[in-house]
């Protein structure tokens, strides 16, 4: 076994030192009835080539963004990852290190987490950010629970326009965490009247921009309405690139911003692992979930970094902790921060501009097709269209042309709503102008067939 360095000769020497006759004897105190006497009857070990063949064959059964034209979004976006990102995150000193419990041996990790926190605070327009959560959806649930702790209230309003998976995660936590979630029934294109729903027992209002259907929102008025009733405003951002162009949630008056950071540095990878961003106001830092890297000095007075405010965390506070989170998304946060550092102020804005330009071209091309209408008045790189035919059937036909041409809304909302012809489509910098034009051409053909 190529990963196991202990030889039979080593084993004999070690067993002699321990004073037992065999390795199996070290397991003898386990009741015999539950101890296997030999390896399970399953396949035996294989060489690197054999395993590689097996996995490559499975990979070949999928059609990914390398082969197909990808127009899918809904919280997971196909962006270009500069070569330097993947090279750097595979350096063993990053890849194979642990959570920085011994800061003197992890100044590299701690410094990039400090830089990550700063970048997240900057782009969301917030005062502080943590060192990452699992993903955007779990960050959203944690934000709600944090708001409940701060306000000591147990009723939550969630916009029906947030990502349905995010809503479902919040609802799961509500069911087991003992708080209530109120939501309007989702009706496409209808303005929500969330302000009217807020009363003095509401802990927080959860909204998203761009929303799940791609529309952009300014929550400034909603923030004021929340503040008037002592509720917190939680803003979700599932497409973080949008913040290169748009007014930030912090400028709108958000109390907590949670976001999915996958778009920067992290591959699609079928939905995970991704990286949750979590930012808030300075006055709430002791109620935050997750790890925080902080600045300090060493015994010589030199600047250095440590994990800090850990008295919030499970390993110290146990059942009184602000969250049970331990391992988070360190390496995905590294990919995020390297990509954003490469982009810088200029590149981040240019990337956002290119995304909007490509989506605008796509909307213009698709909008020309007879019977197709675009619902959005505003969008960033993703929008919702109504087709003259079933969205699911259309998407399956498009796939046979090597085009991942959008996501049917029925996948999220089931069949009970009038959504069978509704499709969510996205374009990023990865979609060339030629690709967009040929998508429109094929879509027209498929709809006319």
């Amino acid at each position: 076994m190529r990963y196991l360095p202990i030889s039979d000769a080593d084993r004999q020497r070690m067993l002699a030192k321990i004073g037992v006759a065999s390795v199996d004897d070290l397991f003898n105190h386990i009741p015999a009835a539950v101890r296997l006497k030999k390896p399970l009857d399953l396949p035996h070990h294989q060489g690197e080539m054999e395993v590689e063949r097996h996995m490559t064959a499975l990979a070949a059964k999928n059609i990914g963004a390398t082969k197909a034209s990808m127009f899918l979004g809904a919280g997971a976006y196909n962006h270009h990852i500069p070569a330097a990102v993947d090279h750097l995150i595979q350096r063993g000193e990053f890849l194979t290190s642990y959570t920085p419990y011994q800061p003197e041996l992890a100044q590299g990790t701690l410094q990039y987490l400090f830089e990550f926190q700063t970048q997240v605070a900057m782009i969301t327009g917030m005062e502080v950010a943590n060192a990452s959560m699992y993903d955007g959806s779990t960050a959203a649930a944690e934000a709600v629970m944090m708001a409940n702790r701060i306000t000591k209230r147990q009723e939550v309003i969630v916009s029906s326009l947030v990502h349905p998976h995010y809503l479902a995660v919040i609802e799961t936590h509500a069911r087991f965490g003992g708080f209530k979630v109120a939501s309007e029934p989702m009706v496409i294109g209808r303005e929500e009247k969330l302000t009217k729903m807020i009363h003095d027992q509401i802990s927080c209002v959860v909204v998203q921009t761009p929303d799940f259907f791609g529309n952009l929102h300014d929550f400034t008025e909603l923030a004021k309405a929340c503040q008037a009733k002592g509720a917190l405003l939680i803003v979700i951002v599932t497409e973080i690139i949008s913040l290169g162009l748009l007014k930030s949630p912090g400028e709108m008056g958000a109390d907590i911003v949670v976001a999915e950071g996958q778009s920067l540095g992290n591959a699609l990878s079928f939905g995970g692992p991704y990286v949750g961003l979590f930012a808030t106001r300075e006055k709430y830092i002791r109620q935050m979930p997750g790890r925080l890297a902080g600045q300090t000095t060493d015994a010589d007075g030199k600047r250095g970094w440590v994990l800090t405010l850990s008295t919030r965390e499970q390993h110290i506070r146990r059942e009184k902790a602000t969250s049970n989170i331990c391992t988070n998304s360190g390496l995905c946060a590294l990919a995020f921060t390297i990509h954003l550092s490469l982009l810088g102020e200029v590149g981040f804005r240019r990337l956002a501009e290119t995304n909007h330009a490509r989506a605008s071209l796509l909307a213009s091309e698709i909008g020309k097709i007879r019977g197709v209408s675009i619902i959005n008045k505003t969008f960033f790189n993703e929008f919702t269209v109504v087709l003259p035919k079933s969205a699911k059937i259309t998407v399956d036909r498009l796939a046979s042309y090597g085009i991942m041409g959008g996501i049917p809304m029925t996948r999220f909302y089931g069949r009970q709503l009038e959504l069978s012809h509704v499709l969510l489509i996205c374009a990023t910098e990865m979609n060339t102008e030629n690709e967009i034009e040929s998508f429109a051409k094929v879509l027209r053909k498929v709809l006319n067939d």
């Binding site: 999928n62 963004a65 390398t66 400090f114 993903d135 995970g272 000095t297 981040f348």
Partner: protein, 509 residues
Amino acid sequence: MTNITKKTSPTISGNQGLKLEEQLIFEQDNPGISGVDFPAVDLSKNHLGGLLSNRRIGLPGLSEPQIMRHYTRLSQKNYAIDAGIFPLGSCTMKHNPRLNEKMARLPGLGDIHPFQPFETIQGALTVIYQLADWLRQLTGMAAVAMPPAAGAHGELCGMMAIRAALDHRGEKRLRVLVPESAHGTNPATAAACGFQVDPIPANAKGTIDLAAFRAKLGPDVAAIMITNPNTCGLFETEIVQIAKDIHKIGGYLYCDGANFNAIVGRVRPGDLGIDCMHINLHKTFSTPHGGGGPGSGPVVLAQSLASFAPVPYIELRAGQYQLVENAKGTNSLGRLKAFHGQMGMFIRALTYILSHGADGLWQVSGDAVLNANYIRACLEKTMSPAFSGTCMHEALFSDNFLADTGVTTLDFAKALIDEGFHPMTVYFPLVVHGAMLVEPTETESLASLDQFIASMEGLAQIAKKQESLDSFKNAPIFTPRRRLDETTAARNPILKWSDQQKTAKSDAT
């Protein structure tokens, strides 16, 4: 400043040979520079409503070579399993095979979107299905929930499944028994699911006190959360009886599988009477820890809890794998996370499992336990094992051997850093005074173990002589930074760069 620093910091630059200082990225800003090229775009006509912003975000501008240098220098300030033994107890820092990394990046695996039509992702669903099948067989359990993102998230999944099962039975049981030696995530998870935590003590052997456990049983007990092998590195030999007792009163047995590496392929949790257990793919199945994640924490479920598993899960219908994504109308506890789980980690874990096979995994647990016992045997005279007899995959010592030396467990750990090793887990589990928990894993060679043991033994002897207390109190001295002031960091938190300009006086770099 101490004499040591004066002697070792004579340079103009602040660098010391290969020890290179590195400023924050924000301090290297060259406005207008970018490491990525994009053509300019005309946005005079746009669909952004009134939300187009011209704000300056504040991101620094650097070119690619500067970025490469920045992160390469940062990486050189880290210790890693690639560089040496990383014996953090309960963390299972084993070798991370590079084949795993290569497979996770294959076109067709790394570049697929979570919402593609099922026909275009049959290979991906097969990966998940095959991994799930291995996990079920290795644990002898009925079902497995793949979505949880890490160990603590898996705990949440398991405890929510228990709550859902109790709700289904129409019972409101609120008390959860948690041994005092448990990971902090256990009580934190129970609390997050609305349970009340009731601690149970350990006995003199380091395992659960059966009498104390039985005295706690009652109709309001929902579950007991047991780590097995436990955080003292010992197998809970009474676990089968504990399972019977908890089931008799209508409760469930949750197992924290953080230490599964000790028994993988040799003991099936399903045979122990466990109702559910999370598995840390980033421990037992070698997916990299990445400086704190991402992890992956699938939960194996017995028949008693299988129908309460979260969405999504995979079903085989008419020869095609499909995802069931909606929980409505089922017993499912609901959704725990967007999308379908940590696919990148599934690919790595399956690659690892196929590489080892059943015979290799048998050797993995065998060598992991052998290595830990070798360390225990070599150090038992110099240091103080917390419990007598052999251990499982990790060796636990108390700080008794340091009594009256003036050296604390923390000092000892920091001295080990100067010896070129990452220290073991310290001050955990809480049930042992000044605990030092050493988990070498099966991927350490005998030579590596011997080097580590020599340093541990040597430091213990130096401490006992009580002649060079300063060398412990000043440690570490050979690291990029010496002991860091955690108290001030917490008292006056500086969590981002702009804050730091206000307190620039403390900046000596």
